[in-house]
Every structure is written in structure tokens, then in C-alpha cells.
């Protein structure tokens, strides 16, 4: 049996039987793995209790140090580069707007990865689900272009969310009925979304044939969510959803069921919680959130058209964000702001210093690497380090 919470040879009952819904990612009692070590006091104790925040910060700092070495190796001044990057993304009007616009979908795709993590699922398909939502909104915006603007926005959001949820549900159904691992199926669904949408907007039924490049029709002016100053419409929505998801996971029966399945699906089964139902619900919610990210990408960003590459690498940034946040829904907010600022500031590196904007991809990749390596937590906290997420046990099942 491939269950991570029950290593062979350990007879101790699984901790998931605990009736109180405890959020292990945050103020969790530190579980000593072997031999009960007394919880440390003083500075170390403070750090141990807050390691869910301390570890990601150390990871980001380490990533920036390694990034600085790489920038130096290219013959540039890393301090100046970082200064330009963040000056642009936080201290200029256009840059700050871009940061906020990029943060919006990033929070949502971060949540789309974080929620399934709680159930022990790894949703790599945020990218495809986002694209499904975006193209759904593009279709509605064209087909119902005579509707009044606000109504059109609402219909576009509903359709986009449903399409995103549907796209994720394909993977969930393949998992629950046929045992296809979600990592492979969601990746395949990403590629399928890319191809299908390329057909739709490149000479297919949604294409604006009056344009020289593949694109959908542009969103009618009344339905465009032009930003209010530096605040894009989607950002408060994303923030509220992050809080709602955190509340749902912590305070509702559904959240308790999802987390129980994620901790130990056998214990959950004995307690009468359906793994199948939890898988389907978690993936549908995730797909809906990613789909909503796609809707905002279409409705609130110039040129208000669906074009190839609109999704960028948002779906994959979502993985980095969810792991930086250690699966905590509220943690996705600062993580998304950081990633959004780096993405928004990247062009200025290109224009002002001549550093390739792909340095941001490298920085994010190294951050992801640093935050996921358990050695960092082990090195600082030794036996007090909390256990890492274990997902691979579901591979053969």
C-alpha cells in the first residue's frame, strides 16, 4: 500500500484521526518524529513555531544570492539589477499596476495548486484550466456582445469558471474512475488546451479573421475591466477568495474532510469520508479558480483579446507560489505579490540593463528548488523540522 502517512512497520495510529481540524502548515504543534524532544524555547523556539514563514523567506534569500552570482557571471551588477527590478515594480505607476495585474491571476492559480495539495493531489494543470476559462470568456464576450457590459462580465465569469472547473474535472474523473495519475493527465490537458485554443483562434470559429495574427475578437468596451488607478478589478476578488478558501479549509466540514483525506485516506475512509468525492470537489474548485484567473487575464488586460501566449507561465508560477506558501491559502498572497513583482519588473531589466528577462524564470526556478528542499528546514531546525509534503506515494496506486 502506498500511503505516505503510514510508513510500513509503524503501528502507531495515524495523526489524522485527531478530531480537531488542525492546520499543520501554520501553528501546528511540532511533531517530533522519534523520541519526544521538548519544544525549544527562546529565539529558536520562536523560529521553530514560525518555520512555515521562516523557511520560505530563507529560500527566497538564498535564491536571490544564487541569482546574484548568475547575474554577476553575465557581467552585470546584481545589486543594481535587483534595485531596478523592484523600483520598477513597486515605485512606478505603470510598474505597480503591472504588479497588481500579475498578482491577481497568480493568487488564483496559487490557490488552484494549494487546495489539491491538501487532499494529496498535485494539480499541474493550472495552466490549461486558466486557458479554458480565458477562452470561455472570449467566446461569451463575442457571442453575447450585445448584452449590457456588467451583465456580460458576470456571464463571462460564470462560463469561464465552469469551463476551468470542467477542464480540471476531466483529470479528477480519470483519477477516480480509471486511476490515471493527475500529474500526467493535467499535463496532457495543458497541451490539449494549447492545441484546441490555437485552432479556435487561428482560423477556427472564435478567430478574428480581420487580424493578421491568431487572436479572438476583442472584448466589447462595456465589458472591459479597465483598472481603477493602480487597482485592477480582479485583485480584491482574488484576495477575498484566498480568505474564503482559508476559512473553508479551516472552519467548514468540507475543509475538514478534504484535509483528512489528504492526511490519511484510509482513516478518512473509516470515518465515512469519500475520497472520490473529495478529489472531485477539490479539483473542481481549483479548476474554477484557475478559470477565473483566465477570465481576468482576458477582461482586465490590454489588448482584451485571447491570443496565444496570454497565459504565459502563470500555471507553473502557481506551483512555485503554492509551495512557497507551503500550501497555506493565505500564504499565496505574499508569494503571489513577490512573483508578480518579479514578472512585472522583468522588462525593465531588459530595457535598462540588457539582462534577459528570463533571469526571472531562473530566479523563480531556484526559489522553487530552495523552498522544496527539506535540507534547509532540517539544517536549521534539526529534529524540530515539520514534515514535508509527501505526494509520490500515490503514484503506483
Amino acid at each position: 500500500m502506498a500511503d505516505p502517512d503510514r510508513p510500513p512497520g509503524k503501528d502507531a495510529p495515524a495523526p489524522a484521526a485527531d478530531p480537531a481540524p488542525v492546520d499543520t502548515t501554520k501553528a501546528a504543534p511540532v511533531v517530533a518524529e522519534r523520541g519526544a524532544a521538548p519544544p525549544p524555547t527562546g529565539v529558536l523556539g520562536f523560529l521553530v513555531r514560525h518555520q512555515a514563514i521562516v523557511v520560505p523567506i530563507i529560500a527566497v534569500v538564498l535564491a536571490f544570492v544564487i541569482g546574484a552570482i548568475l547575474i554577476r557571471a553575465q557581467g552585470f551588477n546584481p545589486t543594481y539589477a535587483y534595485q531596478r527590478l523592484f523600483t520598477r515594480s513597486f515605485l512606478t505607476h505603470d510598474g505597480l499596476l503591472a504588479t497588481m495585474q500579475k498578482t491577481t491571476p497568480l493568487i488564483l492559480v496559487g490557490l488552484a495548486v494549494a487546495i489539491p495539495l491538501k487532499v494529496g493531489l498535485f494539480n499541474i494543470g493550472g495552466q490549461g484550466q486558466l486557458m479554458a476559462g480565458g477562452i470561455g470568456a472570449a467566446w461569451v464576450a463575442y457571442a453575447l456582445r450585445d448584452l449590457p457590459g456588467p451583465l456580460l462580465v458576470i456571464v463571462a465569469i460564470v462560463v469561464g469558471v465552469l469551463l476551468g472547473a470542467m477542464w480540471a474535472s476531466i483529470a479528477a474523473l480519470l483519477k477516480t474512475t480509471r486511476g490515471v495519475h493527475e500529474v500526467i493527465s493535467t499535463i496532457m490537458l495543458n497541451s490539449i488546451a494549447v492545441g484546441l485554443i490555437d485552432w479556435l483562434i487561428n482560423g477556427g470559429p472564435l478567430a478574428d479573421k480581420g487580424q493578421p495574427f491568431p487572436t479572438s475578437h476583442s472584448v466589447p468596451e462595456g465589458a472591459r475591466l479597465t483598472p481603477l488607478g493602480i487597482l485592477p478589478w480582479g485583485l480584491p476578488v482574488a484576495l477575498i477568495l484566498a480568505v474564503l478558501v482559508a476559512w473553508m479549509l479551516k472552519r467548514t466540514t468540507l475543509g475538514f474532510e478534504l484535509q483528512t483525506v489528504g492526511r490519511n485516506k484510509f482513516a478518512a475512509g473509516y470515518a465515512g469520508i469519500s475520497t472520490t468525492k473529495s478529489t472531485l470537489i477539490a479539483m473542481a474548485i481549483s479548476g474554477g479558480l484557475a478559470g477565473l484567473a483566465g477570465v481576468f487575464e482576458l477582461l482586465q488586460i490590454d489588448p482584451y483579446r485571447y491570443q496565444n501566449g496570454i497565459a504565459g507561465s502563470l500555471g507553473f508560477d502557481g506551483i512555485t507560489i503554492a509551495l512557497l506558501a507551503r500550501g497555506n491559502p493565505l500564504g499565496t498572497i505574499p508569494a503571489a505579490i513577490l512573483v508578480g513583482a518579479m514578472r512585472a519588473g522583468a522588462p525593465s531589466l531588459q530595457f535598462e540593463l540588457g539582462i534577459r528577462p528570463e533571469i526571472v524564470d531562473v530566479l523563480l526556478a531556484i526559489t522553487l528548488l530552495m523552498v522544496s528542499l527539506p535540507v534547509i528546514a532540517k539544517w536549521i531546525f534539526r529534529r524540530h523540522a515539520t514534515k514535508q509534503t509527501q505526494l509520490a506515494g500515490s503514484w503506483g496506486a
Binding site: M188, V362, A365
Partner: protein, 332 residues
């Protein structure tokens, strides 16, 4: 020699193989040119999938999931191409491509086996790091002196149909074909193979029997990286002679599906990869000859849809190695 017991155990596979061969030769008799070009194209597409699937076979048979094949291939393609471009030597390119695969394999091995990083997260990290690094250091306008040359294997290339399809290709394609049979032999007929399977199936039992589980997993996953590196080098130096960003385009994941469809066995994975290649080649052929009018995008989607269908069909019929995905902690 295949004895009677082996035949009766594998009668479905032998029968299917015989039918496919008869079908292929019937096709060849009707139109030899189209048959050779279609099957050659199928093998051309299947080579990186075969190599990728062998990386997966070695890893998962030893108990380590490798989601990072895609990234390992991409780095192999990148390193091979740019090393060849810098030194203007294709031999150096192939060697560097293979070595970069070892480096990527070593990262997966040490982070998961020693560092106990979750194997799936480790693989996803490899893919994202590979994409970031290869696009940052990418330089356009570089060229390599030439792609790896095709050559005819003496005698074997004279066999009708099979000869031109399998035995007059480049060196990596030929290597891919050979490694399948070598790996099958190693896995099922040697001490290393028995130990590897034991470590992947029931590591604590293997440990009790005196096998060093950690060392064997480290060695296998690291060494398998060579094949991923060569798969990448095939893409940038044999199938084409250029490197593009994101050039592996999902082949690493197709390889994983092929591995599952092939029931974690080298020869069946080869058959599965050929099936994938053939379906794609068939679709292209139908498109090119105007038999059907399907948009090009749908032809390109075929392998991904096929993967989902194949996995949904294969589920429940095949069984993964028992300990795949689980870290081994001695005495736990």
C-alpha cells in the same frame, strides 16, 4: 531459445507482434515506398519516447518516480547542441549531452533518495529549473557543423522494410533500439536486475537480504540520466540540427505514459512507443494525402489525447513496482 513455456505465457504478445509484422509486410507489398516512409517516420518519432521510457523503467523499477524526464531531455538537448556549437565538434556535443543527463539524474537521485524530497515535487522542480536555465542561456544564431550522420548497418540494413526503418538511422536511434534489449536482459537475467527489482518492490526485504538500497537507487537514477540526456541530444543533433526553447514539448511525459502502458517492461514500452509513433505518422500521412481534412492542430494533439486514452485503458491491467514513490529509511 524461447522455450514452449515462455511462448504459452506470452502468447498474446507473440501473436500481436506476428500480426503487426504480417500487416506491415502486407502494406509493404502493396506500396513499398509509402510503407517505408511511414514506418521510418514512426520510428523517428518514437526514438526519444523509447529512451525516455527506459529512464522511467530504470527509475521506477528501483522505486523512484521520475517526472523530470522532460526537463532532463530539455537540458540534454540544450547542453549537447551548445557544446557542439562552441567546440564545433559533434562528438563533444553528444558526450556533453549525455553528461548533462547524468548531472540531472544525480540531482533527482540525491534530492529524493538522500534528501527525501518528495519524488513528484523533485521532478516538477527539475522541469521548471530546466525550462528557466535553458531559456536564460539560450543564444540564437548558433549552428553546429552538422547533424549526427545516418549510416547503414552492414547486412541488417538490407532486410526489406525493417532494414531501412531501423538500421539506416543515426547512432542515437540505433543505440535506443539496442538499449531496449540490453536493458531487458539486464533487468530480468542479471544480479543487478534482480536487486533493482527487489529494491523497487520491497526495499526493507532487500535491505534485510544485504542489498544497499540507498546506493543502488542512487546509482540507477543517476545512470538513467544518460539516456535522458541522449534523448535530448537526439532531438537537437540527430532529428534536427537546431535547438529551440521548450524543444522536448511534452515527450518526457509521453514517455511516462508509454512506460505505464508498457507495464514497466522495456520491450513492451518499445512496442508502446512504436504504436504512438505509428499513430502520429498515420495521421500525418492521411493529412498529407488529402484523405481526410483535419486541422493541423488536431494532428499535433493526437499524442496527448492518445496518452489519456491509453492510460485510462491500461489502468487496472498493469501494476506499478510496489515501493515506487516511497522514500526508504533504514530500520523504519
Amino acid at each position: 531459445m524461447p522455450d514452449m513455456e515462455w511462448l504459452s505465457r506470452n502468447k498474446i504478445w507473440v501473436g500481436t507482434a506476428a500480426l503487426v509484422l504480417i500487416g506491415a509486410y502486407a502494406f509493404y507489398a502493396v506500396n513499398s515506398n509509402i510503407a517505408v516512409s511511414m514506418f521510418s517516420y514512426a520510428w523517428f518519432l518514437a526514438v526519444p519516447l523509447v529512451l525516455g521510457a527506459m529512464v522511467g523503467v530504470i527509475g521506477e523499477r528501483s522505486g523512484v518516480v521520475n517526472i523530470g524526464i522532460e526537463g532532463q531531455m530539455l537540458v540534454g538537448a540544450f547542453a549537447g547542441f551548445f557544446a557542439a556549437a562552441a567546440t564545433q565538434s559533434i562528438v563533444v556535443g553528444v558526450i556533453v549531452g549525455a553528461l548533462s543527463g547524468i548531472a540531472m539524474g544525480a540531482f533527482l537521485a540525491f534530492s529524493t533518495v538522500v534528501g527525501q524530497l518528495d519524488q513528484i515535487i523533485a521532478g516538477v522542480v527539475i522541469n521548471i529549473v530546466a525550462t528557466g536555465i535553458t531559456s536564460f542561456y539560450f543564444e540564437s544564431g548558433k549552428t553546429i557543423p552538422r547533424g549526427l550522420p545516418n549510416f547503414d548497418v552492414p547486412l541488417l540494413s538490407k532486410i526489406p522494410l525493417i532494414g531501412p526503418v531501423f538500421f539506416s538511422d543515426g547512432p542515437i536511434a540505433l543505440f535506443a533500439l539496442i538499449i531496449v534489449f540490453v536493458l531487458h536482459f539486464l533487468l530480468f537475467k542479471t544480479r543487478w536486475g534482480l536487486r533493482t527489482r527487489a529494491v523497487g518492490e520491497y526495499p526493507s526485504a532487500a535491505d534485510t537480504a544485504g542489498i544497499n538500497v540507498i546506493a543502488l537507487r542512487l546509482f540507477n537514477v543517476t545512470a538513467a540520466g544518460i539516456l535522458a540526456g541522449l534523448a535530448g541530444t537526439y532531438l537537437s543533433m540527430e532529428a534536427t540540427s537546431t535547438f529551440e526553447r521548450g524543444m522536448s514539448s511534452g515527450r518526457g511525459f509521453l514517455a511516462l505514459a508509454i512506460l505505464i502502458f508498457g507495464a514497466w517492461r522495456p520491450m513492451r514500452a518499445l512496442a508502446a512507443a512504436l504504436f504512438f509513433g505509428f499513430m502520429q505518422s498515420l495521421a500525418s500521412q492521411l493529412q498529407a494525402s488529402d484523405v481526410v481534412n483535419i486541422p493541423q492542430q488536431f494532428i499535433n494533439l493526437l499524442p496527448y489525447v492518445l496518452t489519456l486514452v491509453v492510460l485510462a485503458a491500461a489502468a487496472g491491467r498493469v501494476r506499478a513496482p510496489g515501493a515506487v514513490g516511497q522514500p526508504f529509511v533504514k530500520g523504519d
